[in-house]
Amino acid sequence: MISIMLRPEVSGGQSKTMLIDEAFHFPPQFAALVEACWRKANPPSEWGVTPEQFQRLLERSVIRRFSGSEMDPKGIEKYLGGLHLDELALAGACSAGNAAAWDFFVKQFRPELYRAASAIAGESCGREIADSLYADLYGLREVQGRRQSLFGYFHGRSKLSTWLRAILAQRHVDEIRRTRRTEPLDAAENDGDSPARKVQFQSRSDSHDPDRLRFIAMLQTALTTVLATLGSRDRLRLAYYYVDEMTLAQIGKLLGEHEASVSRKLNRTRQSIRKSVEVALLEQKKLSPEQLRLCFEYAQQEWPYDLTRVLSARD
């Protein structure tokens, strides 16, 4: 992290906050900090990035992050210290259309771009998404006569490769949601005898228990209420595991936890949810133990997705 002492006589011995708006420029006391950032970025001369241009990149990054906020110099200093300055300089040079910078980007990042696109969206779809992104990075689109490069949206808060993956993922998800390509295939639409159908859990609706639907509804309501009381992180951990089907290791990496901690917390959360649901049904809904048992049994029949067994085998 880049750290530099601001002149106390300028700041009055105390941290003075600054309003960050679209017109923000670094005050003079930031000159040394900006210089330190420039040295750390150390862009090759052939990229054609001047210190002034680089300062503008830093200012845009600060604006992007803190726009509308009052920030003290220490906070800005800490923020700048966490930026990926070398990649920010590269993005700036590519955005300006510098050939040497583009050569560097193509050599260093393009293979990874296409590999990630292929991993995200498959071979042919990934290729299309990657080509489209590559064109947008170059800036084939023009707005009011000015070439707009997607690099203008990179502000150095993450690695450039991560940012590229995020854009690829975002575009693919939006494409999926737009076209719903995971829904029934062409053959299902054309072939009247096709057995293809949407993947749905088999609903055992042939039960003759008249209370079945009522029990399921009560259990669902109780579960929804309990889930609403969960902390965001616990809820996110559950969602990553049950909905997104991530492994414990992947969840741990995202949340900054050890794999064993993720497992332990998932188990604890699940047990806590179950107990809360049981209490709600027994005490509030006045169900008997036998009726409670039926609730869970019907739930298992209605949603027989034994994810625990599947994922535990995978984990």
Binding site: E112, E123, Y305, T308
Partner: protein, 415 residues
């Protein structure tokens, strides 16, 4: 019902409840998601992001894709041996090195004074002399390129775009044992063999183990995920061997290694010859491919049909390929993008059942159009056997078997 059973019973409800939420506020932009992913956000922002992510399936889906994309990166590119720089390793290692050095110096000093006569030299045979030649059936097959012998300049058959090309095949996904036998049977200059690993500039690295295509297959550790399944790492394969996923009574079936080994020494059946020829050709192509970006493909699974000319092949990322000329050329299809397909069975030349992870079951009756079949349970299926387009038996990863006699409309548990 025990507490543990109730916990499991809730799994389905949790999945449904957690997946049906609606976020409040705008979705996270790509830059914020990337910064969150890289742990570059400060604590208040992380909390804000996690609150949104807990409710937003769209944003979580993006993150899940990023996780899979990173997981599919070449293993060596990701592996960083950091322990070697730990002082707890360096200190004793340095001490041991010093002791060895001192001992070595003293030992060499002593031996200088009493030189010994050199031992007899052992003549080493040239590597190419000890490699067995290809069986005559294979070397004379018109399908085999001359590269199987020794020529680098013989052009390989032009393949379909979606097939592993002559320039950039991916051999890691092939059956390890079959390729091992193939390699032993070939006298191929493998100095330019590829392993799919790349330098940061996109050029391929020299493979670590003497261009061995039988790179140990690492177990896959990631799930299919959120309905969008990514191809596995080029250097990885499903934990179970990619061959013989279907039951023995099926009319399909991949080439078991033992059977390939036996066939190599004996007269080959036409279908098996075609399969082995295809594998050898692809290995030869892989051995001579120039360094360039390779396709990312998962384990290759060949599915034979009653017609010896017609073959199917699972090729990762949801792709399947079909050949009508015994594997000389392949035409790719994408029945389900990003599906993690694990096995298949082809009771006729145009009928093919495919199964995979996350309850994936696919069926084609005309060799072109695919239907997605509802699974009996949303489990990972690892094998399928079939006698017709109506009849099939699928096996889940936990051993459960289900059979159908109406083309998948109804499944019943079977033994």
């Amino acid at each position: 019902m025990t507490a543990d059973s109730r916990d499991r019973a809730m799994s389905g409800m949790l999945r449904q409840s957690l997946g049906n939420t609606r976020p409040q506020g705008d979705c996270l932009d790509a830059e914020t998601i990337a910064a969150y992913y890289d742990h570059s956000l400060d604590a208040p922002l992380i909390s804000k992001c996690e609150t949104h992510l807990a409710q937003c399936a769209r944003c979580r889906q993006q993150i899940a894709m990023m996780v899979r994309a990173e997981s599919s990166a070449p293993a060596k590119a990701k592996a960083k041996i950091t322990w070697i720089w730990d002082w707890r390793f360096l200190a004793p290692a340095a001490a041991a090195l010093l002791v060895l050095t001192v001992w070595g110096v003293r030992h060499s000093t002593l031996t200088v004074t009493s030189p010994k006569a050199p031992g007899p030299l052992v003549a080493m045979s040239k590597p190419q002399e000890i490699l067995p030649q290809l069986p005559p059936q294979l070397t004379t097959s018109p399908r085999l390129p001359a590269a199987a012998s020794n020529s680098k300049s013989t052009p390989l058959p032009k393949l379909d775009r979606l097939s592993p090309s002559a320039e950039a095949p991916q051999s890691e996904g092939a059956d390890a044992r079959s390729l091992q036998k193939s390699k032993e049977s070939l006298s191929v200059d493998s100095s330019t063999a590829t392993s799919g690993e790349q330098h940061s500039d996109g050029s391929l690295k020299e493979p670590a183990a003497a261009n061995s295509p039988e790179t140990p297959l690492a177990a896959k550790s990631q799930p299919s995920g959120a309905g969008v399944n990514s191809p596995t790492n080029a250097l990885q394969a499903p934990s179970a061997p990619p061959v013989s996923r279907s039951n023995t009574e099926s009319s399909s079936g991949n080439v078991p290694a033992a059977e390939a080994k036996e066939s190599a020494g004996n007269e080959l059946s036409t279908a098996k010859q075609a399969q082995l020829a295809g594998r050898i050709r692809e290995y030869a192509a892989a051995s001579q491919a120039p360094a360039r970006q390779t396709e990312q493909r998962s384990a290759e699974t060949i599915i034979a049909t009653p017609d010896p000319k017609v073959l199917w092949r699972i090729a990762g990322g949801g792709f399947v390929e079909r050949s009508e000329d015994m594997g000389a050329t392949w035409n790719g299809q994408l029945p389900l993008p990003n599906a993690q397909l694990t096995a298949g069975a082809a009771p006729t030349a145009k009928t093919c059942w495919l199964v995979g992870e996350g309850g994936t079951i696919l069926l084609t009756k005309d060799g072109t159009h695919w239907s997605k079949i509802s699974p009996p349970v949303p489990a990972n299926f690892v094998s399928v056997s079939s006698k017709s387009a109506s009849s099939a038996v699928i096996t889940a990863s936990d051993g459960q078997k289900f059979s159908t006699s109406d083309g998948g409309k109804k499944w019943t548990p079977s033994q």
